[in-house]
């Protein structure tokens, strides 16, 4: 899932300066599951903003709604009906959600209430860890199911650096050394030959380095006539 966390309240208040009435829009998908932008978080943030701006003497009326998915047109299109009455829309979606709203409602100020952090999973309740950077060229089959691109701070492809100690990464004592686990898994899975192979320089053109990425599937794309 996409993992996000809320921006500091003060930063959001600064963004909202000058607004009288704002619509906070949550998203019912990834950010609900990671407790950052679901219905409840929308409620908490909105109540906090109402109280805080009231105490400041510049009360902002913050109203709330949550859609199933901010990143799909069909779910956000119905918001248009009463959008006119709001000075701005505060999105509690990920960066994709914010941009989908901005694309859907040009001319309306769409403000991000979250910082989108990474693609990851909950390793325990209340703890999320990054697992994928979307490099566009997956190598998990040779690295024993552990991603060196997203989990090794130096993005090494040929084994652990000299800072691995007791299975812990030197960059962050709270993180396990990805390569320590990769070595263990590779040995268990009989991938010793892969371990000893000098893995060639990665082609990053499939990653963000190659420019803005886009996938076109002609097999499911709507014919021009239907789009119209």
């Amino acid at each position: 899932m996409i993992v996000a966390e809320q921006k500091p309240l003060d930063e959001i208040k600064t963004m909202l300066e000058g607004c009288k009435k704002v619509l906070a829009v949550g998203c019912g998908t990834c950010v609900t599951v990671c407790f950052a932008g679901g219905r409840r978080e929308v409620g908490i943030l909105s109540a906090s903003l109402r109280m805080s701006t009231d105490l400041d003497g510049e009360a902002i009326a913050v109203e709330e709604t949550t859609v199933q998915r901010q990143c799909e047109e069909e779910y956000i299109a119905p918001l248009e009906a009463d959008l006119e009455e709001y000075d701005a829309v505060l999105s509690l979606g990920c960066g994709v959600g914010v941009q989908s709203l901005a694309r859907q409602f040009p001319g309306k100020r769409i403000l991000p209430a979250l910082n989108t952090k990474f693609m990851g999973f909950p390793s325990e309740h209340g703890v999320w860890e990054e697992r994928c950077q979307g490099c566009g060229n997956c190598v998990l089959h040779i690295t024993g199911g552990v991603c060196p691109v997203s989990r090794c701070p130096k993005q090494l492809f040929n084994g652990p650096c000299g800072g691995s100690q007791d299975g812990i990464c030197e960059v962050d004592p709270g993180t396990e050394c990805a390569w320590h686990t990769i070595c263990t898994n590779q040995l268990e899975l009989g991938l010793f030959e892969e371990m000893m192979k000098v893995q060639p320089a990665k082609d990053w053109s499939t990653s963000r380095d190659g420019g803005h990425r886009r996938i076109v599937r002609e097999d499911i794309r709507l014919p021009e006539i239907e789009k119209a």
């Binding site: 500091p8 309240l9 003060d10 619509l23 906070a24 409840r40 409620g43 908490i44 909105s46 109540a47 906090s48 109402r50 109280m51 805080s52 009231d54 105490l55 400041d56 009360a59 009326a61 913050v62 109203e63 709330e64 709604t65």
Partner: protein, 158 residues
């Protein structure tokens, strides 16, 4: 000023667990012990049911303080409900500071069903704390409450 302020009568919401604090309050009542009438008790099956949003809405709707009263540590009927409640109360404390209210306006209390007197002592102490703090700037007393009685909460979109 001619209108000397009458003594501040706070409004304090207490989310009480049915298995402990709520029964303790009952016991206190049955024993003819008195506790401040400021306390408005909301019964819950477990304090694990109390969530951040409800506590915030109580504050937003004009409460001067919110107490969450659950079982003694380690004795929750649902194993960890009171532990979660404490985490959430701590979180609300932090939120209140960021919002601009005093963090002491929320408090977690641990009590057993047999502790009628202690319940009285705990809530009395909390009400005293709130009295010392004075009315919440958002309370009805200050005329700032923004929510009409009866409405669900200020942000609910029709």
């Amino acid at each position: 000023m001619t209108t000397e302020a009458k003594e501040f009568e706070p409004e304090v919401v207490a989310f009480c667990c049915r298995h402990c604090a709520y029964s303790a309050a009952d016991l206190a009542g049955g024993g003819r012990m008195t506790y401040p009438c400021a306390i408005k008790i909301v019964e819950m099956p477990c304090t694990g049911r109390a969530n951040v949003l409800e506590i915030l809405h109580a504050m937003e709707n004009g409460a001067d303080g919110v107490a969450v009263a659950g079982c003694l540590p380690g004795t929750c009927h649902y194993i960890k409900g009171n532990t979660h409640a404490r985490q959430r109360v701590d979180h609300v404390s932090e939120l209140l500071t960021k919002i601009g209210l005093e963090e002491m306006r929320v408090r977690m209390i641990h009590i057993s069903a047999a502790m009628g007197a202690q319940f009285v002592a705990e809530v009395t102490n909390f009400v005293e704390t709130i009295k010392d703090l004075g009315p919440s700037p958002l309370s009805r007393d200050t005329g700032n409450a923004r929510v009409a009685p009866g409405s669900e909460h200020a942000g609910s979109k029709p």
